[in-house]
């Protein structure tokens, strides 16, 4: 810890910082915890999609307080935990007023780490319907930025055929502390044939999941969270990281596989390990990644190739092997592939052309694979972490780090567990309708997309 950092975190430093407007960041609600206050449900049309989903989740709801056109705006008597808006019937610009009228009192009354969740329909239909759908996205992003004290806003866009069954895992994730650092995001949920009648506590029980880059940081945390949710972990990392890898594998009761994912036979070795242990492979989390940062003018072919190979090409080669139905220990139907993109990839980041290429590539890859694997009920998704506090980011000089980690709507860095929880949601067998999505875990970075 640098001297400057020590001073900053001393009682005097904290007092000065707060005077100049650098507030102590809100401690976020995390884990499988529900909002403390009431969950307010605002159905803006005839749809009962949100109401039925909340019933499956076993959450009691309250009616919203609606802003009046004139006079003093009415308020909630106590803090509320969440506002869930069913906007799936909205098609006209004039109808957006109904959304404003439920948002205004609710935003004011939202508790710390509260939630605004808007359900909307996929945009098709006439010009106005499509404009309204896009307007909802703008509203969501803005509410996310205006909310304070760790509260978040997210927009879930659903297909026409989606049933409450398809939304249980999504709405559960969005309301619970697991989505702590997911803010201002929009993602899509499609219909599936799965019947879901409750949120599972251990959705991954009995499922084998490979996590690459598992020895430390985010990968180690992914392993822990998935194991908590019941998964049997095959922890993969390069042989030189074996000591830390063994510690993770033993901690989560899984197995360690020392392996360089760029090796030609990496996919074969992973499948052989899974098959050898008598398991069926349910999912793989392609977490392993490297950076070789340089401004483009200083980026040579080696830096370019190594980053693209580790971060993108290697997982494509491994996927090819695991997706071959002839591979013993390959991905079972109904399985899951998770990639790790990055906000650097989605928004671009100075000095990271190679990294951005690879990470945006991952986003492209999961999008491309999703429709092709739909007939096997295999979903492919990615998470895009923003500033996550890890050993790696702890090495960023203090002032720069402070600026980075405060540069989002939640004014703080995320934790590895936030990335892991989002991955856990995507891996949930009940998230069968979520595919081809990239969910940013960035606290709504102010910079970039």
């Amino acid at each position: 810890m640098s001297t400057l950092e020590k001073v900053f975190y001393s009682p005097i430093g904290r007092a000065v910082a707060s005077k100049v407007g650098l507030k102590e960041p809100q401690k976020l609600r995390r884990g499988r915890s529900w909002p403390q206050g009431a969950i307010v449900l605002a159905a803006l049309g005839k749809s009962t999609l949100a109401a039925d989903t909340l019933m499956l989740l076993g959450r009691a709801t309250e009616f919203p307080i609606v802003d009046s056109p004139a006079g003093n705006p009415p308020g909630y008597p106590t803090r509320i935990g969440a506002l869930v808006v069913d906007a799936t019937d909205l098609t006209q610009v004039a109808e957006l007023e109904a959304l404003r009228a439920v948002l205004r009192p609710a935003v004011r009354a939202l508790e710390a780490s509260g939630r605004v969740i808007i359900l909307a329909r996929v945009a098709h239909g006439d010009w106005e319907t499509q404009a309204v759908a896009r307007a909802l996205d703008g509203i969501n992003r803005t509410v996310g930025k205006e909310l304070r004290r760790g509260a978040t806003a997210n927009l879930v866009v659903v297909d026409g055929e989606v049933t409450p069954s398809d939304l249980v895992s999504t709405l559960g994730f969005a309301l619970q502390g697991r989505s702590a650092f997911v803010d201002g995001q929009t993602w899509h949920v499609g219909a599936s044939s799965k019947i879901v009648d409750a949120l599972a506590d251990q959705p991954l029980a009995g499922r084998t999941i490979v996590v690459t880059g598992a020895a430390r940081g985010i990968g180690a945390q992914i392993s822990r969270v998935l194991a908590r949710d019941g998964a049997t972990i095959v922890a993969v990392d390069i042989p030189p990281a074996g000591e830390a890898l063994a510690a993770v594998a033993n901690e989560v009761g899984g197995t360690a596989l020392q392996l360089d994912i760029t090796a030609d036979d990496a996919g074969v070795l992973i499948a052989a390990h899974v098959a050898g242990r008598g398991h069926e492979l349910y999912g793989i989390v392609h977490n392993a990644g490297i950076t070789r940062d340089k401004m483009l003018v200083n980026t040579d072919a080696d830096r370019w190739a190594s980053v693209l190979d580790v971060n993108l090409a290697a997982q494509m080669r491994i996927n090819t092997v695991l997706l071959d139905p002839a591979t013993a220990g390959g991905l079972a139907d109904g399985g899951r592939i998770i990639g790790i993109a990055s906000t650097s990839g989605l928004a671009g980041n100075k000095g990271q052309t190679n990294y951005a290429a690879s990470k945006a590539g991952v986003a492209g890859l999961v999008g491309a694979m999703a429709p092709d694997l739909a007939d096997r009920a295999i979903t492919t998704n990615a998470v895009a972490p923003g500033f996550i506090e890890t050993d790696m980011t702890a090495r960023i000089p203090f002032v720069q780090r402070e600026i980075f980690q405060r540069g989002n709507s939640l004014s703080q860095g995320g934790k590895p567990v936030d990335v892991a929880e989002t991955i856990g949601y995507l891996l949930d067998p009940d998230s069968a309708g979520v595919t081809g999505q990239v969910i940013r875990v960035c606290g709504q970075n102010l910079v970039g997309a």
Partner: protein, 422 residues
Amino acid sequence: MSHNAVVIGGNRTPFAKSGGVFAEASNHDLLTAAIDGLSARFGLAGTRIGEVAAGAVLKHPHDFNLTREAVLSSSLSPLSPACDLQQACGTGLETTIYIANKIALGQIDSGIAGGTDSASDAPITVSDPLRRILLKASAARSTRDRIKAFAKVRPSYLAPEAPRVVEPRTGLSMGEHQALTTKTWQIGREDQDELAAASHHKLAAAWDKGFFDDLVTPYLGVTRDAIMRPDTTVAKLSQLKPAFGGANGTMTAGNSTALSDGAATVLLANEDWAREHHLPVLARFVDGNVTAVDHPAGSDLLLAPVAATGRMLDRNGLTLDDFDLVEIHEAFASTVLATLAAWESDEYCRGIGINSAIGTLDRTKLNVCGSSLAVGHPFAATGARIVPTLAKLLHERGPGSRGLISICAAGGQGVVAILEAM
């Protein structure tokens, strides 16, 4: 009911020169790390293992229950019992035999054999006169008696004593004993240097192709065997001065094993247990044997494994040609060469009670991934290093492939074993 004892796999730390990168690690630390790596590789966290047997040659008195304590520090179930065994450099193979025997008898389903040694963590003790004075002082009833006792302390008593590396019966170090054997068997310098260089080259090649990725777990940032010199040559080794056998000796630091730190483990089980737990079955533990020679009477101390090998082959109805691979522990390059020469000698073999010469070994079968000269030799760990390495090599060759292990040990003892791929 038959109980096939099979080798599932193994794990070890990288080995390093003593006083080097592992200087701060104790035997307990090293053994725990080796067990934890094994546990991670095979998913044994929280698993109750039938028994864990391991040992150390250089051992502190406070490590009296070394293996059990290491188990308690590890991720294995604390309900896994353990014992310490020690048979000098044969420890790691003797523990394997012990565990395999218990499995074969149906007493346990699964077991871990191992060994650890840290020449860095050697027990330093006080001199005998000082110990007597301290005992007397502690038993004294008055201050006066206590002072009287302490008055007898002489400066020379205060020098700490490192464990002696000489044979108590002969007063000769292991190297000095081997120097006698080297001379008797007329083992040349160049042959020794060639064997040493080949050991380093074969080990380096195995590392480069990833052979050890599922046999070794890095420890304290050391990711490969630290003694290994991939670029050494016979020419470079020929420059070294003799270390044993006087000015005209042929044994150097380059063709003798270095004092080393490290730990190794082997996972064994009965075949049914292994298959039920979906664990790999690499090789069957066929037989093991230990013999001793009367080295104070002049026998070649480090050739004790020859008799062990001869008797074991006889009772299994096997000849040297029945083996696809042979692992002879490289205590010194000349130990291996003298062993091979002794195998070829009718006269020597008859002299030790074997019907005829054991035979001539096809040298391409010998130590194909290198051995102790390049890897290092933490005394008690070596056997537990060799067993999984050989089991994996045999398994790669296919079912029925047979391997022989020969390890010489202090006190004129030899520990040998046969593995057969499944």
